[in-house]
């Protein structure tokens, strides 16, 4: 009975959603607004927001990858909030999975092929993750994917070696240092120019590694932070093993 009701509700919702989204065009060019006065540029303009980002983004931020420009520069304060949500969630997982009586679970050893292979691959995967977040302002990628790749390399070690444990103290130290870097860079911007997260370093030439001011610094910090938090989540969910 409950299944039938749920199925009917689901089909009704599907029809409502489909009717709602039938009017939104797919894959068409971004439309212009009617003319309006833009107080920042001090002129009339008819650009929508993404067109504004795509037109002026390279000059405003110095980054080549516009997604990075939006995440770190235009919406940097949002990203600070999101990283805080991530921190709270990983703290919650750690505190909920904490066991006092340390019930130890028996784990079988994995075989020699898996152990040797994962020892070989671990370094390469960490290197790839670091590449992703260091080049976040030039190529696709950035702190969030890089951190996820680093955490998956630690997951490989956890799966291959039953007794492996990442040291909690080192994870805590790297996580807090990365968070501090983010906030200190933001506060330096506040001191120098009066805006939180102001891009105070020189932009340099676009498409070069040392360009875009503080964006690479912040993205490296985000990468380290996300990596250590996700590793902490994996460690907590894994439990105590023997």
């Amino acid at each position: 009975m409950k299944r039938v009701l749920a199925l009917t509700l689901a089909i009704l919702l599907f029809i409502v959603f489909a009717m709602a989204f039938a009017k939104i065009p797919f894959g068409e060019k971004m439309s212009n607004y009617p003319d309006y006065y833009n107080p920042i540029e001090n002129q009339t303009s008819n650009m929508s927001l993404p067109q504004h980002y795509l037109t002026y983004g390279k000059n405003d931020t110095g980054a080549t990858n516009m997604v990075t420009a939006v995440v770190v520069d235009y919406r940097g304060f949002d990203t600070l909030g999101e990283v805080t949500v991530l921190f709270l969630a990983s703290t919650g997982v750690g505190s909920l999975m904490y066991v006092e009586d340390k019930v130890k679970r028996k784990v079988r050893r994995s075989n020699a092929v898996v152990e040797t292979g994962s020892k070989l691959l671990f370094g390469f995967i960490i290197l790839f993750g670091a590449y992703i977040f260091i080049h976040g302002h030039l190529t696709p990628g950035g702190g969030f994917p890089g951190g996820a790749v680093i955490a998956s390399s630690f997951l490989l070690l956890y799966l291959a070696y039953p007794k492996f444990h990442a040291e909690h103290k080192k994870l805590n130290v790297s996580e807090s240092l990365a968070g501090l870097t983010f906030v200190i860079v933001g506060l330096l911007g506040l001191i120098i120019a009066g805006y939180f997260l102001y891009n105070f370093l020189p932009f340099g030439l676009p498409t070069y590694l040392f360009s875009a001011g503080v964006i690479p610094v912040i993205y490296v910090a985000i990468g380290v932070k996300v990596g250590s938090e996700l590793t902490g989540i994996v460690d907590a969910m894994m439990g105590v093993r023997e």
């Binding site: 797919f26 068409e28 990858n65 939006v70 969630a89 909920l96």
Partner: protein, 111 residues
């Protein structure tokens, strides 16, 4: 005529809602929430797509797709997995206390 990308992502969301309403197992409900999350992400990205455009990386010329939904979804995915881990750890705590994952049995044990 609705675009097929919207239809796919709407059906993911609806399947997630169906799981959350009809199923009684806690882990199944968490899987349903994950499916809903993925559907919303796909919907946002497909709204921002522009035909014959490239990714918003300005090494190459040409029209670009909308960068704002991509920036939204980039953070939403990472937050989604951490929130899912939080929900799973709460479910494990409930299992340790009551010995079951079925919702109606949990209601019976609680008293």
């Amino acid at each position: 005529m609705i675009p097929y990308y919207y239809l796919g992502s709407i059906s993911l969301v609806v399947i997630g809602i169906y799981i959350v309403i009809a199923k009684k197992n806690l882990i199944k409900i968490i899987i349903g929430l994950d499916i809903m999350d993925t559907g919303v992400n796909l919907l946002l990205i497909s709204v921002g797509y522009v035909k014959n455009a490239t990714a918003p990386i300005e090494n190459v010329p040409g029209p670009y797709v909308d960068p704002i939904p991509q920036a939204l979804v980039l953070t939403a995915i990472v937050i989604g997995v951490s929130v899912m881990a939080l929900a799973l750890s709460i479910a494990i705590g409930i299992y340790k206390k009551t010995g079951t994952l079925e919702l109606d049995e949990i209601m019976g044990v609680e008293e």
